[in-house]
């Protein structure tokens, strides 16, 4: 039997099929959760934001058009939602600085030793918001540069340079230069 695409499942859910949503959710829950968690750093905030993302996806179900890949559409909603969180959490003057660091490495870090993985997590949490987001969309979402640009609402050159800066900073933090 041919597997139904995410786009078809979302359309089916918009028409009322809960079964379609369950399948769609099972496929996408992990990557969306990790994207949110690694953006904000702490599990309690991540849980709230994650649920908020799905709430928006559910409410927007009838506005979804299959011409847009579902994952890119879902991540655009998540991007806007996470940005709203940071806007509300930080004074505007700080937001304008264009650099938003994760508040803390989060509870995940407590379980990680001083190994390379732990250092990687730490280094990622120190990246400016936009670079971290580009990197997470690449590593967690598997998106390419134009897709990252579409999700974050910037030009592909900008997305590419954010990713390059992120990679260079990580290399430098991890002592590989």
């Amino acid at each position: 039997m041919r597997e139904r695409t995410d786009e078809a499942l979302m359309k089916a859910y918009a028409k009322g099929s809960l079964e379609a949503f369950e399948l769609l959710y099972a496929r996408n829950r992990g990557i969306l959760y990790r994207y949110v968690l690694r953006q904000v750093g702490d599990a309690a905030t991540a849980n709230d934001l994650y649920q908020g993302c799905w709430e928006k996806i559910i409410r927007a179900r009838k506005r979804y058009r299959p011409s847009a890949p579902f994952r890119a559409w879902m991540f655009r909603i998540a991007h806007n939602h996470v940005m709203d969180y940071f806007r509300k959490a930080k004074p505007e003057s700080e937001i304008a600085e264009d650099v938003i660091e994760s508040p803390s490495p989060g509870p995940e870090k407590l379980y990680l030793d001083q190994n390379r993985t732990a250092r990687l997590m730490e280094a990622v949490s120190k990246l400016p918001f936009e670079q971290r987001e580009a990197l997470l969309l690449k590593l967690e979402g598997g998106f390419d540069i134009p897709e990252i640009a579409g999700i974050t609402g910037v030009k592909p050159e900008t997305a590419k340079s954010r990713l390059r800066y992120a990679v260079n900073k990580l290399k430098s933090e991890l002592g590989e230069q």
Partner: protein, 204 residues
């Protein structure tokens, strides 16, 4: 030849770096959402498709009133837009060259990769360019009240994308003027704010 090989090596370096990070990243634990959270989302999805009227539901008897209210809001919005346009300062193009240069950078990578056209347009054809130009014009003009005014809050990375409320007002004005840019602006809006509810007059 050696130089070519060197260049190609250098060109591949970012890819190799990314690959090395990806490999380390794959060693991270694949954190999943807690089960209770899954249940909450699934319950929410279920409630949404059940035939229960939500908070935005309007009884049939009040729908005429709701339509009247929508029309009143549209008229008010158009009036405000027209009034603001009348008050807008005269553009000062000489001061804006730097911004134009930055905003008009050519970009073709998006279409090559086949991402949806409307998502690209959201980043590139949004009314943001004119917004930014207008706000820069306002700040750089010689009018004292404009210079003294606080700059508009610019949200982080998508500083060029207008806030949805402002964008919707502009869409309504485009519709009222039968402007042919409406379709492309609507597509760009939907790509930038997929979950934002449009007023009924802007829905298909």
């Amino acid at each position: 030849m050696t130089a070519d090989r060197h260049n190609s090596k250098a060109g591949n370096q970012p890819e190799r770096d990314l690959e090395s990070i990806r490999s380390a990243w794959s060693g991270l634990e694949k954190t999943e959402p807690p089960e209770l959270l899954d249940q909450a989302v699934l319950n929410q999805a279920k409630r949404a498709v059940e035939d229960r009227p939500g908070p935005g539901w309007i009884p049939k008897s009040n729908r005429g009133l709701a339509a009247f209210a929508s029309v009143a809001v549209v008229v008010l919005a158009i009036t405000l837009v027209v009034e603001q346009q009348d008050k807008a300062p005269v553009p000062a193009p000489a001061k804006l060259d730097g911004f134009r240069l930055d905003l008009d950078e050519a970009d073709s990578a998006g279409s090559e990769a086949g991402i949806p056209a409307e998502m690209e347009r959201a980043a590139e054809e949004s009314p943001a360019k004119s917004t930014l130009r207008k706000s820069v014009t306002a700040v750089s003009s010689s009018q004292p009240e404009a210079r003294g005014a606080p700059p508009e809050a610019e949200p982080m990375s998508d500083a060029l994308v207008p806030q949805p409320e402002e964008w919707v007002r502009r869409l309504i004005a485009l519709k009222a003027n039968h402007d042919e840019k409406l379709a492309s602006e609507l597509a760009a809006f939907r790509a930038a704010y997929p979950d934002y509810p449009l007023p009924p007059e802007l829905e298909d």
